[in-house]
């Protein structure tokens, strides 16, 4: 274990400085901003609304559609070409699966709920930030929810398990594992789990515990900003 002090001075089990706001996009039915460190995500929810073409419709319940996109100037490296990539497609797909178990769309047959996630500025953890913003936006839109979702990345940097990796930690000169996790905040069930890198079974237990801790912290913020919006009577 050689990674004993984090590059940005945080505790091993500490998220970056976080900020969130509900209702940031006037045209949307629900919207939110979520920031962790230098990663910023916007999410807008439109719907439930009519779904075309009709073969996509489900007569039993509404469907959820998720779109994930990095703005062309958002990345630390070169310009990101607009129009989506294999990466953004996959992230949109796993994000949908992360959010769906929290929703109850049974009242909206043949309809769609659209979630659009946009990242103006990125420093790792974008899918987690997107999920956190989207969960707030879905609640802001008044979509019936059975539970809530929050997400964080847990990593293993040169032998040490840490919470909420930055880009510099992902690029650390030594073995790095990056494990984004999303959980239902009430039941604790896992709705997103991915990994790049190598860990052992004992680490995995620790990783899930640390993820749960981060998710609890994030969920407190999600609830706080929703209360702020609706208690102030906006």
């Amino acid at each position: 274990m050689t990674y004993t002090k984090r590059l940005d001075g945080r505790e091993m089990d500490q998220c970056r400085e976080m900020e969130a706001k509900a209702g940031v996009i006037g045209r949307a039915d629900g919207s939110a901003m979520f920031r962790t460190g230098k990663t910023i995500a916007y999410a807008a929810v439109y719907g439930p609304r009519n779904l075309f073409p009709r073969f996509l419709q489900n007569p039993e319940k509404g469907i959820l559609r998720v779109n994930y996109n990095m703005m062309p100037f958002s990345s630390k490296g070169e310009r990101v070409r607009p129009g989506g990539s294999r990466r953004s497609k996959e992230i949109a797909f796993v994000t949908k699966n992360a959010l769906l178990p929290a929703l109850d769309l049974s009242e909206f047959p043949n309809s769609v709920v659209d979630v659009f996630i946009e990242l103006p500025q990125t420093d790792a953890g974008t899918r987690c930030a997107g999920i956190n913003a989207a969960a707030i936006a879905l609640a802001d839109a008044g979509i019936p929810m059975k539970d809530f979702v929050a997400s964080v990345s847990v990593g293993k940097v040169d032998g040490t398990v840490v919470l909420d990796l930055t880009y510099d930690e992902e690029a650390y000169d030594g073995p790095v594992a990056d494990i984004p996790i999303a959980m239902l905040t009430r039941s604790g069930e896992v709705t997103l789990l991915q990994m790049d890198g190598e860990v052992n079974k004992e680490d995995m237990k620790k990783i899930l515990q640390l993820g749960q801790k981060g998710i609890n912290d994030i969920h407190k913020l999600q609830v706080k900003v929703l209360k702020e919006k609706y208690q102030s009577g906006e």
């Binding site: 996009i25 006037g26 045209r27 949307a28 919207s31 230098k38 910023i40 916007y42 999410a43 807008a44 439109y46 609304r49 779109n67 996109n69 703005m71 062309p72 100037f73 958002s74 990345s75 630390k76 490296g77 070169e78 310009r79 607009p82 129009g83 989506g84 659209d114 659009f116 996630i117 946009e118 103006p120 500025q121 990125t122 420093d123």
Partner: protein, 258 residues
């Protein structure tokens, strides 16, 4: 087009009142310009026009120049009407409105000679700096084009070169060298016409009900550097002159913000 909406709009304008309560046909909503809104971009800015919100970001890259301009830097403007910003926008390749916004903004910058493109040449025919500008919409409550042009100008003012060692660009490291800009400040003002009224800065409803529009990009020395007529209704020559006059006056006002 919604006939009743249009009738209502005209009746209000007859009384010098706007659809959203503004008392002046030629008044913009509250405008705010904020630069440096995305740290990984070489330059960036946000413009809010009332509730309309637009981002512009600049990335710099080293590229091979176009064969017909071997000793000029390159300029590219793209616009994305994000489906996040308006229920009617869809994912996919840019439609005609996005393309029009990008091209009109591009012309204003290019034709005013705002960016000194020859100084962006490093090795004629081989290596030049490319200035890659992207416009994205966060919330569309009308007048995206004027907001986009202003955001792009503010983002360019905010742009610095990344570190370049002759081989690769080190994107994480910003220099303090600014983009070479002249002092022309190209500003786009779109003047709308409905019935016998001219107005500027439409909101969502007003944008659904106009007859014709004319975007005029003016630069600091009172020259026009780009124009674009929109809408299906023709304009008389006198109307064009009047609309250009309005655009120049409003351009002066907006220019003070950047």
């Amino acid at each position: 087009m919604n006939k009743e909406l249009k009738q209502h709009l005209i009746l209000a304008l007859d009384k010098q009142v706007r659809y959203d309560g503004r008392k002046d046909k030629l008044a913009y909503r509250d405008i705010k310009v904020k630069t440096g809104i995305s740290v990984n971009a070489e330059g960036s800015a946000e413009v809010t026009l009332g509730k309309t919100r637009v981002y512009a970001g600049v990335k710099m890259a080293i590229e091979e120049p176009f064969p017909d301009k071997p000793d000029n830097g390159m300029l590219m403007v793209g616009a994305e009407l994000l489906p996040l910003s308006n229920p009617n926008f869809e994912s996919g390749p840019p439609g005609i409105w996005a393309t029009e916004i990008a091209r009109v903004v591009d012309r204003g910058i290019r034709e005013s000679g705002l960016i000194d493109l020859p100084t962006l040449c490093l090795e004629p025919g081989k290596k030049v700096w490319a200035v890659l500008i992207d416009i994205v919409t966060i919330n569309d409550e009308g007048n995206l084009l004027d907001a986009a042009a202003l955001a792009v100008y503010a983002a360019l003012q905010n742009t610095v070169f990344p570190k370049f060692d002759g081989e690769t660009v080190e994107y994480g490291v910003k220099t303090d060298k600014k983009l070479p800009l002249n002092d022309k400040k190209p500003i786009a003002v779109t003047v709308y016409k409905v019935a016998n009224h001219f107005f500027v800065d439409p909101n969502t409803d007003e944008e659904k009900a106009y007859d014709a529009r004319l975007t005029v990009v003016t630069s600091d020395d009172n020259t026009i550097c780009a124009m674009q007529k929109g809408g299906e209704t023709p304009l008389t020559q006198k109307e064009v002159e009047d609309m250009v006059g309005i655009a120049m006056d409003k351009g002066k006002e907006l220019r003070k913000l950047v």
